[in-house]
């Protein structure tokens, strides 16, 4: 007789997140048969998150579809994002059927396994045992990734691959992801090609496509992604990258179609809704754009993905549709939903200015501009580029020329290598009949940025490393969102440590520069390479 040995769960703490009471009972009884006594229950995300905050569970069983609040996938993402799980925690997602969400997603967004209903004793125990064993193997790698020691994580992965392992391709795939993260594209490519030599694997095609995309070969990225999407709309992440590639290739119609198809399969994806909104807006399809941003705002409201951008977009689109009321409503929602974020609150108020202007309430706009001018000037470096471009013209129009100039100087300083933004900054002045002044401002700010870069490099070449660092540090204070400057500064900091030894404060400054640059310019290869160098300078840096 074949019977699987039950795992011993007597010393394990387990969280069950399940909205259906009957199912909670079934799962508790099953776990009880393996001796589990430390079981906690939550019926929804509101109950689950506080439990996850307080305790590091050994395993979480979570239903994908919960009645109210976040769904299981969103809870997992929040828990991973906020590091509410231990490196060895096993997360099993319970679902009624296999869906597209299950085959895509990055390392951070995938649960350890899916359990398809009906949940029997066999299913639960085999998967739980298997994943607990797998997590034990992966825990040191996971810990290194949390400490952001990606090189160490890669070496640990390599070491495991040197022994016979049932997780061979899991580990290889993880190694490829890590290599991509630290900018070692060649190594990642090697693994993806090896995988494709085995089978026609969607994730390997996707990996190759990402490399093409990051290295600027957009047509090759599109062709590679076609191998995956080809008539199948289940591979969602491939659709997102396909839309990005098509966008770069100038085919906005096709990009929109690809996103719409992916959203038919899986509509509960705030970032994808936002991507659709931007493409539709640029195509002039304001209806679609408004709908997409509305859904993005509603979907992201209760998640850690919540940010000001979608609200600003929604307001922008509604204004373009001539719906001033709707635009104001979006801004009002922003100031409520992100009330603890000072910049978001400032933006919510400031962007009322163009709305009032367009609605003919000129005096109201003028009063608001006057009231906010000082604060806008102070926070210029915190404001998103699109918002600055949107505000500069009305401010100019309402006689707040100095504030507009401050905002645009900051914009140019942070984006001195971004020709499109420089042109748009000049256009704001030109429309106000101040074309020459605009040229002068943009030239001045661009030159200042370039000189800062050059001066830093020059001082470093002359061996005056301390002076060079002082220089770039000061430049960073003026242009905190300039990716090139951030990476130059990080480079110098690392060079300093190579010469004088590791220093915790300097290492942390370098890391924050690299991470900021990466947020501003995702996929920047140099950022990954500097991250590796930073790790090599010493290995005593814990997370």
């Amino acid at each position: 007789m074949i019977n699987l040995p039950r795992p011993d769960l007597s010393d394990k703490s387990i969280l069950i997140i399940e909205d259906y009471e009957g199912m909670r009972g079934i799962l508790r009884d099953l776990l009880g048969r393996a001796g589990a006594t430390r079981i906690a229950f939550a019926a929804n995300s509101q109950a689950a998150i506080p439990l996850l905050e307080r305790h590091r569970y050994d395993a979480v069983l979570c239903d994908l579809h919960l009645g109210q609040g976040l769904n299981g996938q969103q809870i997992l993402e929040e828990a991973r994002h906020r590091q509410l799980l231990a490196p060895h925690t096993v997360w099993l997602m319970v679902s009624a059927e296999k869906t597209a969400e299950m085959v895509t997603g990055t390392m951070e967004s995938r649960p350890d396994d899916y359990l398809l209903k009906p949940i029997t004793e066999t299913l639960l125990f085999t998967r739980l045992s298997r994943q607990m064993a797998r997590r034990q193997t992966l825990a040191p790698i996971e810990q290194a990734m949390r400490d952001r020691e990606y090189l160490k994580a890669m070496n640990l992965t390599e070491a495991q691959l040197g022994r016979p392992t049932p997780h061979l391709w899991d580990l290889k795939r993880l190694k490829a992801d890590l290599a991509l993260h630290v900018g070692n594209h060649a190594h990642a490519r090697e693994i993806y090609l090896e995988a494709l030599g085995q089978r026609d694997l969607p994730w390997a095609h996707l990996g190759l496509a990402k490399i093409h995309f990051l290295e600027g070969r957009h047509a090759e990225a599109r062709d590679e992604l076609e191998q995956v999407t080809r008539g199948n709309r289940a591979y969602l992440e491939a659709h997102d990258w396909m839309a990005r590639a098509l966008d770069k290739l100038g085919d906005l119609d096709a990009a929109q179609a690809v996103l719409s198809a992916a959203l038919t399969t899986s509509p509960h994806a705030p970032l994808r809704q936002g991507q659709l909104g931007e493409i539709a807006y640029r195509r002039g399809d304001l209806e679609t754009a408004a709908g997409a941003f509305r859904r993005q705002v509603d979907l992201a409201r209760q998640t850690p993905l919540k940010a000001a951008d979608p609200y600003l977009w929604l307001s922008r689109v509604q204004l373009a549709r001539g719906k001033a009321d709707e635009a104001l409503r979006a801004l009002a929602e922003l100031s409520v939903d992100l009330r603890t974020d000072d910049t978001a609150r400032l933006l919510a108020r400031a962007l009322e200015i163009p709305v009032h202007l367009q609605a003919g309430a000129r005096e109201r706009a003028r009063a608001l501009a006057g009231e906010l001018a000082a604060e806008l000037g102070e926070q210029a470096n915190e404001l998103p580029a699109e918002a600055i471009l949107e505000l500069a013209k009305p401010l100019m129009d309402l006689g707040e020329k100095d504030t507009a100039a401050t905002l645009l100087t900051s914009l140019v300083g942070n984006n001195h290598e971004h020709p499109e933004i420089l042109e748009r900054a000049k256009a704001v002045f030109a429309e106000a009949g101040l074309a020459e002044e605009g040229h002068a401002l943009v030239d001045r700010a661009t030159r200042a940025a370039t000189e800062s870069m050059n001066q830093g490099v020059k001082l470093a070449r002359e061996g005056k490393l301390d002076e060079a660092i002082e220089f770039t540090r000061e430049a960073r204070a003026r242009m905190p969102n300039n990716p090139r400057l951030l990476l130059n500064h990080a480079f110098l900091l690392i060079a300093w440590m190579e010469q004088y030894g590791r220093d915790l404060r300097i290492a942390s400054e370098a890391r924050s520069c690299i991470e900021m640059a990466r947020r501003l310019k995702p996929g920047e290869k140099r950022a990954g390479e500097l991250l590796t160098k930073l790790e090599l300078v010493g290995n005593d840096f814990g997370g």
Partner: protein, 232 residues
């Protein structure tokens, strides 16, 4: 409202009903297993256990079919998330055997396995698991005393065999099961779906320049039906 609209509605109703039925069957399977596990409560000779076991078999069969229908729909509509991963087949084999162990015990059939621990293959776990469990259910239904699950390395992939000591497959099924093109034949009853599904799953597994294959034969080491799935 045109014809297209009413057809769409029917499909939607069918799909949501299948979902609903599948969930209900899932709960029913668990209850029946619990009922069978509560050995002390029912005297062994009342026949209740046997009838409950039969009900469990039928419930699992319906549940399997509903799952297959949903998968077939997604495959047909090009949104089944086919996800080949490199698996240790011994894991799949243990899980499949444990899934049908209750039933085997109640029917007094000895469930055996001959599985090489080292064999790995690229496969979509859920699809192949579904096919193997169904083959085991079928073997338990027609077998007399023994059912065997064998997993062997085969070329670069694996061969999974489910053997029984029953009367074997009827001729029309042998022809049907080995035919390249399989369709649902309403005259032969429900077996069409299971075989069609198994054949489709086999064909979806491709690699090393070859395609997965399904075959049925009679005889074999136990003298009854042999269901064989080859993965490249």
């Amino acid at each position: 409202m045109g014809d297209a609209d009413s057809k769409l509605d029917l499909t939607t109703f069918l799909l949501s009903s299948i979902h609903d039925m599948k969930n209900s069957m899932g709960v029913m399977v668990v209850y029946l297993q619990d009922a069978l596990a509560a050995r002390g409560d029912v005297p062994a000779d009342t026949g209740v256990r046997e009838k409950t076991a039969q009900a469990l078999y039928e419930a699992q069969r319906v549940s399997d079919h509903l799952v297959q229908l949903l998968a077939l729909y997604k495959i047909d509509q090009s949104f089944y998330p086919f996800d080949p991963q490199y698996h240790v087949l011994a894991d799949l084999s243990r899980e499949a055997l444990a899934r049908v162990a209750d039933l085997a015990e109640l029917k007094g059939i000895s469930l055996e396995s001959d599985c090489d621990e080292e064999v790995c293959a690229w496969l979509d776990y859920d699809l192949v698991f579904g096919v193997v469990v169904q083959a085991l259910h079928n073997a338990l239904r027609y077998g007399n005393q023994r059912v065997m699950l064998r997993v062997q390395a085969h070329a670069s992939g694996a061969r999974i065999r489910v053997e029984d000591d029953g009367p074997g497959f009827p001729d029309f099924l042998l022809a049907h099961g080995n035919a390249r093109e399989r369709g649902i034949s309403f005259e032969t009853g429900s077996t069409g779906l299971g075989l069609y599904f198994a054949g489709l799953v086999a064909g979806m597994h491709q690699g090393a320049g070859r395609s997965g294959a399904l075959s049925l034969e009679n005889g074999g080491p136990l003298g009854g039906g042999v269901f064989m799935l080859e993965l490249p």
